[in-house]
Symmetry: C3
Subunit: 144 residues, 3 copies
């Protein structure tokens, strides 16, 4: 794990193998998996989950209880009925561009890009790319 | 923080600066922020997040994984690109009246009032006031 | 609590009174309540909540931040205004059949059966039975 300067991390967090930039705040009950890159001046609020494959550029706001995903067809086991391993699974990346804001309770499907300064409404389920500066909401999320 | 009599708090919680009434139960992985008021005989289930600006009257049920919000346009940084401080942000209040029940997985936008004994269905996204005694569900939540 | 062989449990979990099969993985910030049965080779991802009344057969995938429920009309207090006890409440069961996959951020209403190998899309709110092999998504979740 690589931590920038002036990073504030609350209690009960699970971070591993990620890169966190400068001046980042990370709330309680947050998990950030290996390979994640978090840019400078991001704020990641409590109860959120940021999985492998996610990149947050600078100044991104992640609300509370936000869930990212990285697998289109997740399964517990492979076709032989054994627990899946890294070999059975492909990580699909997601990019959140600078200044974007992901509202609390949002779920993001993988393989998408959230444009610069876009705003995702609370409780949205985001299934496709969001243009820069757009505001989206709903399930599936649409421009409002 | 001010705790009433006979409050039961589970492990792994993050409470600070809030007022909790008598006979309240608070589950695991709950965060309650400063300024929150929780009335007597409320039940707050695991994984829920209650932010600054929220008031729960008496006998309110908060399901599991419920998310409140208090900022209509959250951002990580201010217009100068610096991390936001308290000065850059206005807390929008939410009121849940006595006997109301917020179903698990619900997300509540801010600035709204949930009426007495109203019931919010599991997984709802509540975007506006809910009348007393009403049952709502969906995203956005509508009366059912 | 009864744990099978080769169970991997991460930090910050709250398990009690449940039965966990062999080769099960349980992520961070998970709560599993009493009476839950988890079959062999299930994977339960971080931030998920599995309540009393839920049975997972073999090889079930539970994504991150998944919420089960077991009470159709939850309330904090009974008709006399006192905190509810076990006597005021009926647990409604939910069954997830072998090989099913529950996407991250999904909420499941109670009293339903998720069929074998069914797939629940991320962020769905599942309100009724899902047939074997079906894929559902949305709020309420519908076959896609």
């Amino acid at each position: 794990m690589k931590l920038g300067r002036n990073v504030r991390i609350h209690d009960f967090v699970n971070l591993y193998g990620c890169e966190i930039g400068d001046d980042v705040k990370i709330g309680t009950f947050v998990e950030i998996q290996k390979g994640v890159k978090v840019g400078n001046r991001c704020k990641i609020s409590s109860h959120s989950f940021i999985c492998e494959g996610v990149t947050l550029e600078e100044g991104v706001f992640i609300g509370h209880n936000v869930t990212f995903t990285n697998d289109r067809y997740p399964r517990a086991t492979n076709r032989h009925g054994e627990l899946q391993t890294e070999a059975d699974w492909k990580c699909v990346p997601t990019l959140v561009k600078r200044g974007a804001s992901i509202g609390s309770g949002a779920t993001l499907l993988c393989g998408i890009t959230i444009g610069e300064n876009a705003m995702i409404g609370a409780g949205s389920v985001v299934t496709k790319d969001v243009p820069a500066g757009a505001t989206v909401a709903g399930n599936p999320a649409r421009i409002v």
